[in-house]
């Protein structure tokens, strides 16, 4: 066998070189920071990081905390609903918009705009709308629907669902955009073939288009999942974790303890637990998805 020329060797390495900076940086930062955070979680850090080793004490505190348990449960409820509804709605909107709609540009912008607005202020508007005394409930009752009830925001058991509503409102436009881009990338001719095969429009989407958008689903799922897990602004702006700490999620828990209450060690422990939980769910999925997408 011959040895490839220098130019050929460069060409061979070029893809790796191009990828290298992104990967090296991501690794250094992401995994470096994860490790650092892991270390903090077994330290006595309070207001500022320090490196006095205290073993698993922070984890013990964490798992005795009722608030943390509530946060974990909320994350579960929120993620499932937010991802599920967000995907479904985003996909539905994308499909509807894909029907050669005249006002597509306008509608698309309407669905997307919630992304553009910072939750710093939108949260206020949502609080008003969801507040039974000011918003929808009030309005409907004024219009004569005396029995109309919509008071989830002030009900500790239901408040987390209002966070879902606002989250879906904010994100499904982007999901729509992702799906729309996917739809627009589908080869027209296979749609034609399906029409000939007698598939109805819903069947075409369900059996042909959506399955061939598997990578798009993967993107969407990753995006929504990470929004869900990191959702912080949303909760802070809408309920700030309230009533009480009924709508606390791990991100707000961690922020509050690490930064507001000077319990960095505890915050770090919560971040580690969160990551570990995510890893348990996401890593197998990532693995199988990337395997099966290889062509």
């Amino acid at each position: 066998m011959s040895t490839p020329s220098a130019a050929a060797r460069l060409d061979h390495w070029l893809p790796r070189l191009v990828l290298a900076p992104s990967f090296v940086l991501s690794f250094l930062f992401i995994y470096g920071l994860i490790a650092w955070n892991g270390y903090l979680s077994v330290s006595a850090s309070r207001l500022l990081p320090n490196y006095e080793f205290v073993g698993l004490q922070q984890y013990e505190i964490l798992f005795q905390s009722e608030r943390w348990m509530v946060a974990l449960k909320n994350l579960g409820i929120f993620s499932v609903l937010f991802i599920g509804i967000g995907m479904a709605l985003g996909l539905l909107l994308a499909i509807l918009l894909d029907q050669k709609i005249r006002a597509e540009g306008l509608l698309r912008t309407i669905y997307l705009y919630p992304m553009a607005l910072s939750f710093i202020v939108t949260g206020t508007a949502w609080k008003w709308i969801l507040n039974p005394g000011l918003g929808l409930e009030h309005l409907m009752q004024q219009w004569g629907f005396e029995n109309f009830r919509f008071d989830w925001l002030v009900d500790p058991d239901m408040a987390i669902y209002t966070v879902v509503i606002a989250g879906v409102w904010q994100s499904s436009g982007f999901v729509m955009a992702l799906f729309l881009a996917g739809l627009r990338g589908i080869d027209d001719s296979i749609i034609k073939a399906a029409q000939i095969d007698g598939a109805t429009l819903p069947q075409i989407y369900w059996r042909i288009i959506i399955p061939s958008m598997r990578p798009v689903f993967f993107s969407t799922l990753m995006v929504l999942a990470h929004i869900a897990i990191k959702s912080f602004d949303l909760v802070m702006a809408l309920t700030a974790g309230g009533p009480g700490f009924a709508t606390d999620v791990p991100a707000t828990f961690m922020y509050t303890h690490a930064f507001t209450r000077g319990q960095i060690g505890l915050g770090a422990a919560s971040a580690t637990v969160m990551l570990a939980t995510v890893a348990a769910i996401v890593v197998p999925y990532l693995y199988s998805e990337l395997r099966s997408q290889r062509r």
Binding site: R46, L47, L48, P49, E66, R67, T124, K127, N131, P132, G133, L134, D151, L153, V154, D155, P156, A159, M236, L238, T239, A240, G241, G242, P243, G244, F245, A246, Y255, T256, H257, F259, T260, R261, G262, Q263
Partner: protein, 393 residues
């Protein structure tokens, strides 16, 4: 030199107040680098501060208050400004309770700006008149009036259901029901016996009873919307710190006539204070250190104290100041401040981070707020939770 100042006074009157300080400094030939971060009563600002300190780039001064000052000082990042304090005789113009908060191991590390009184009751006299009730001075009266207001179809108590507001209300109830000593023992010294005492039961029962007079839409409501309810006459009264006054005034209401400010029931002889202060960080550049000291001096100057507090709605932290320009509520507040300072019933506000370290305060707040929001939780449970929260380090 240059001073970079981290604060969360960003809008309206506060910003004007901060500008006054900036002007003073500039008059002394220093430049002012403004680092304003609003939000969550300084939560965001604290986050920024931490990362700035970690990156080795601390600002000259940062708005820090209460026991947090001690915590920061314990990290060894704060500067000693005793020379300024001595020159300006801070020890004599500040009430000792306040001065102690500003010191770490006997040295001044921060300059106080203002005093907020937290244990206020704001009321709409017109509504009270309509309902035939009078502004209460004790908790018993409070419930009588509340009942009357309720009968008149008015929401008796305007409340915003956010944990810090729940906690603010709790603090006023604790002070009113338990008295100053109880308050100090339970919420400042975090004495377990006191926290588990029968008085605590009473406090919690009263606290829960107050909730019965709030509307069901309270959760999540901002404090100023609650104030607006009082202004509009939808609600009769509100338990809130003196910043609420700003809302009344902004709505064109006149103190004493359109709205009443009174001490929270049973706390007329006491004063829960919330003092804003600037911690001074260790700096390397000499010129900047000079500017920093000038800043400390300027903060405590009578001129600034007056301008600032007129804008902010609070009262000067200096004793013995001329209050001619202040309104009646402020005058009342100031009088109580001076009186209680003498009678040792001037107590730090636990809800506003003046009394105990943030970790414990936060944990107690969680427990209080949970009790407030969950009608199922028994008083005994709540008491146990609060007591165990108080042990958080």
């Amino acid at each position: 030199g240059e001073v970079e100042v981290l604060h969360w006074w960003t809008s309206g009157g506060e910003a004007k107040a901060a500008s006054a300080l900036k002007a003073t400094l500039q008059a002394k030939g220093h430049s002012w680098k403004d680092f304003a971060v609003a939000g969550g009563g300084g939560d965001s600002a604290m986050t920024v501060l931490k990362s700035r300190v970690v990156s080795g780039n601390a600002p000259a001064a940062a708005q820090i208050k209460g026991p947090s000052l001690q915590e920061w000082a314990a990290e060894g990042v704060l500067a000693n400004i005793d020379d300024v304090a001595k020159a300006e005789k801070w020890d004599s113009v500040l009430p000792p309770v306040v001065a102690n908060v500003m010191k770490y191991k006997g040295n001044y590390i921060a300059a106080p700006v203002n005093v907020h009184r937290v244990n206020w009751l704001w009321a709409n006299p017109e509504v009270f008149k309509k309902a035939g009730a009078k502004v209460p001075t004790t908790w018993d009266e409070f419930f009588v009036s509340a009942e009357a207001l309720k009968k008149a179809g008015i929401i008796p108590v305007a409340h915003g259901g956010q944990p810090w507001q729940d906690f603010t209300t709790f603090e006023s109830v604790a002070l009113g029901v338990g008295g100053t000593d109880f308050y100090k023992k339970a919420l400042v010294q975090l004495d377990q016996a006191t926290l588990k005492s029968a008085t605590m039961d009473k406090v919690l029962e009263t606290f829960r009873k107050v909730k019965g007079y709030t509307d069901k839409n309270a959760p999540g409501r901002d404090w100023n919307l609650a104030t607006a309810m009082v202004i509009k006459g939808e609600a009769g009264m509100q338990l809130m710190g003196d910043w609420a006054k700003g809302e009344f005034i902004a709505a064109g209401k006149v103190p004493g006539k359109d709205f009443t400010c009174a001490a929270a029931p049973g706390t007329a002889k006491a004063f829960t204070f919330n003092v804003d202060s600037f911690a001074m960080f260790k700096l390397k550049n000499e010129a900047n250190v000079k500017a920093q000291k000038d800043l400390a001096a300027a903060i405590m100057s009578t001129d600034f104290q007056e301008v600032f507090n007129l804008n902010k709605g609070s009262i000067p932290v200096r004793l013995n100041m001329d209050l001619a320009k202040f309104d009646d509520c402020a005058k009342l507040s100031s009088k109580d401040f001076v009186d209680t300072a003498k009678s040792a019933s001037l107590v730090p506000s636990v809800a506003h981070g003046m009394a105990v370290p943030s970790a414990a305060a936060g944990a107690i707040q969680d427990a209080v707020s949970q009790f407030w929001n969950s009608d199922k939780m028994s008083v005994a449970d709540a008491k146990a939770k609060i007591a165990s929260a108080a042990m958080t380090k």
